[in-house]
Amino acid sequence: MTEYETVVGLEVHCELATATKLFCGCRNAFGEAPNTNICPVCLGLPGSLPVINRRAVELALRIGTALNCTAQRSIFHRKNYFYPDMPKDYQISQYDEPINLGGFLELVDGSRVGIERAHMEEDTGKTTHVGGGGRIREAGYSLVDYNRAGVPLVEIVSRPDISSAAQARAYVDELRSILVATGASDGRMEEGSLRVDANVSVRPAGAAEYGTRCEVKNLNSLRSLERAIGYEVARQIALLESGERVAQETRHWDEGDGRTHALRSKEEANDYRYFPEPDLAPLVPDARLLAAAAEGVGPMPAERRRRLSELLKAGPEPAERRDGSTTDQVVTVVDLGLDELVHGAVTAGADPHLSLARAANEAAANPDAAKLLDPIAFAALLKMESSGQLSATQSKEVLAELMTHGGDPARIAASLGYEQMDTAALDSMVDDVIASNPEEWQRYRAGEEKVAQFLLGKVMRATKGRANGKLVAAAFAARRSV
């Protein structure tokens, strides 16, 4: 059997998080009563004219900057086709002169996916076919909501650089965090803020030419994206293996049966008759706009992950985490925007690995609160934990309190009764445990390490968790070596 490789290019439509629509002053809002955010312009009433939303241009430029694209003079085109959700029966979009050209996106694993372009266009309204299973042909009637008509979109077109369903998912996941990080979008796939179409093809491994591609639509989640590409790749390979050819067509992903289905070829036989939109002037990003766009774009996740990893190199990685979980923690922390917190804590003297671990696990449980954490207070807490003043369990409790109510970690620890046990009390507790568990103590002394946990557990139970595990372990170890 021939070996095949997968070639995927993605088109991601991103709704921009502007207050108003792309060409009029109507509110850009999701989930409101149908046909309430409309005006002559976004309804395409005769005589109305579009006026570009400067904020949308700025956000589009931000996306371009974040994706390492080149911003250029661009023009709008009209894409002509008839459909009831399109008020003017043409969509104002960009064609051969897009605002952002060429770029790349770096994924978590360090791989790069090329970006062809990221252009601006207006969204359409939403059609609901009533009756007949929701398909237009069988429907009794159709309802159109124009609230979404004219909402600004940026369409991000990748190069066909993606070689697996998992990488496609990682790409969208990374793109989503970038869009959120730049403030360009809320990134909500379930609300349609982010919509993905996948161009999928396969070819014999190492072949120079691309295979015939199919465009897969209706991918409403990362999961369906991954499943649909997996299905489509298998389908195409099966076709080729049985000597058939892949037909170039648009296919619809059905989440229910887990398959893609060809749309009627008639429905896609469109000649869009693109031509330059005469109602809008060319878009020449001026210095002020470019500056505003650049200002809105901080370091991108890939860069931030790099910076965070650098930070960790400063301290030795604890043995128990040498299993790759550090990488996951870095991704989580950057994704949640908690990397600044970690940097701040380390600068204030906290252990880098501990900072990362607490940020990725405990702080991540409540990222909104965590973002408001004072890095100095966070560092103070971590230092208490490192020095053994607080046990890990205690430290987590204090952190939870710190996130909900703020304050000083030392006071919180005191108010929770986490005063450090004095050494004398701890010593007598350890001696008591040794006295009442002579058999285990002997095994421990003989070098049976796993018994240590048993002994430690006894002390912890007796102290109701107040003892610092590290100190207790040290106390047992000290007595063994005597």
Partner: protein
């Protein structure tokens, strides 16, 4: 001053001054306008709608302002007629198309609200060729307009109604739109003044689009001065039209009456060649002679790309029209064909029943020139020729201050004469389309008459935003011909 003067009801400046001073009431001016409409409308069909009640309320509002010592504006009480492709809030706006029958815009076009703000009183919506596509007004989906100067003849088009109301004296001023000559050609046929300003000078917001890059809104008047006074209130940057220009608006009266001695007037040979009616030629040459007598230097010039203007225009205009008119699909407003089992069938039937033959012809032409495989050969090439044509004018205006040509090759033709020959009809715009393609201002002024007594128009073209020069030269000719 009496409100009723034959033919018509005085000048824009005269009425506004009399109304503002309280000498006459806006109501009485309006009444005499409406009386004249009642006398003539059945024969002329200038109007698609006469909004007497609303106009009366507007006139009374003007009079109340005057009564309370407030200024109702520079066009106080001036009855104006609006081409029925300008949106008017709460007043049906049809483009003389069955497909828009009964449609009521929820907003006023910018020019309409600006005129209202200036105190003008809109009296009604004037008839036009359907969606402004035509040169005779016979393409109206309702009824053709008759030329008040000779009722067996067309008033020109597409702003035939707006030109005819001035000739008939049923309005003092009116607004039209000009995509390939639709203001200047009917102005010439009806013997009135019609001005197409520079592209971007007057907001297109609320003008129902035919061909967006060629559409202009402009005024008609009985005189150059009336036309200038109207333009004064219409011109200027407006944020709702992205193509409206951020160029200061001069006082358009300033250069009117200024001597024209020493001005260089270009006469392009291409506009005096084959196909030009000898009577039109001699009338326009007589007009040019008057300018020479007044001290202008007459400069023969050449605009070589003008010969490609008609094909270029019909590619660009129809391409844009095919897209602009897509929205009339029966889904949201206007007329919807009831039958039709599928969406496509509903679209087809609605558009088949709603559009007239010329509109369909242009939609098909425009769809064709934009189609895959034809775009480069037609649309792209036409855009290139358009740029060359515009640079013809740029070059010419380095040598001359204004260009003078006949407005039309012939005087008004008979109703029905060209209806079976679309190409012959298209050639009626041969001298006017160039200014739309180049975006420069152009005005038609009356310039003598044929032996049969039909008006002949002279076209004056100027540089971008040099309406003052166009008005100045126009006024000089007007003055000399009257004298």
């Amino acid at each position: 001053m009496t409100a009723r003067q034959a033919p018509g009801i005085g000048s824009v400046a005269g009425i506004a001054a009399a109304v503002r001073s309280g000498e006459i009431s806006a109501r009485s001016v309006l009444q005499s306008s409406l009386e004249r409409v009642a006398d003539l409308e059945a024969d002329l069909h200038c109007f698609n709608a006469i909004t007497a009640e609303k106009a009366m309320a507007d006139a009374d509002a003007v009079d109340r302002l005057v009564g309370s010592g407030l200024d109702p504006g520079p066009l106080a009480g001036v009855p104006v007629a609006l081409k029925d492709n300008l949106c008017t809030e709460g007043i049906p706006t049809t483009c003389s198309s069955r497909i828009l029958a009964g449609w009521m815009p929820p907003y006023d076009a910018t020019v309409v609200s600006r005129l209202r703000c200036a105190g003008a009183v809109p009296v009604g919506k004037t008839n036009l060729d359907e969606f402004a596509m035509g040169s005779s007004n016979e393409n109206s989906g309702f009824h053709p307009v008759h030329n008040p100067r000779d009722r067996s003849r067309v008033p020109g088009g597409s702003s035939g109604g707006s030109a005819a109301v001035i000739a008939a004296g049923t309005a003092v001023a009116s607004i039209g739109s000009d995509t390939g000559g639709s203001i200047r050609q009917p102005a010439a046929f009806c013997g009135v003044v019609g001005l197409k300003p520079t592209y971007g000078r007057v907001s297109r917001y609320g003008l129902i689009a035919f061909a967006s890059s060629l559409d202009h809104v402009g005024p008609f008047g009985k005189s150059v001065k009336d036309t200038a006074l109207m333009l004064q209130q219409m011109a200027g940057r407006e944020p709702l039209d992205s193509t409206s220009a951020d160029v200061p608006v001069p006082n358009y009266l300033d250069q009117i009456g200024q001597p024209v001695r020493g001005l260089r007037i270009g006469v392009p040979e291409e506009y005096f060649g084959e196909g030009l009616d000898p009577e039109v030629r001699s009338a326009v040459e007589a007009g040019i002679q008057e300018l020479a007598k007044a001290g202008c230097e007459i400069v023969p010039i050449s605009l070589p790309y003008s010969k490609y203007a008609i094909p270029t225009y019909y590619v660009v205009a129809t391409a844009e029209a095919s897209s602009n008119l897509a929205r009339y699909d029966g889904v949201r407003y206007g007329v919807r064909a009831r039958e039709g089992k599928t969406l496509a069938e509903m679209y087809r039937r609605t558009r088949d029943a709603g559009f007239g033959a010329e509109v369909k012809r242009r939609i098909m032409l425009g769809t064709y020139v934009l189609s895959a495989g034809y775009y480069d050969a037609y649309y792209l090439k036409a855009q290139r020729v358009r740029r060359l044509l515009a640079s013809d004018f740029d070059r010419a205006f380095t040598k001359v201050d204004a260009i003078v040509t006949p407005t039309t090759p012939t005087p008004a033709f008979k109703l029905g004469e060209k209806m079976d020959d679309p190409l012959a009809m298209y050639l009626a715009d041969i001298f006017t389309v160039t200014a739309n393609l180049a975006g420069i201002p152009g005005m038609s002024i009356p310039c003598g008459k044929s032996r049969e007594g039909l008006p002949i128009g002279m076209q004056i073209l100027g540089k971008h935003f040099d309406e003052p020069m166009v008005l100045r030269v126009g006024h000089a000719v007007e003055h000399a011909m009257a004298g």
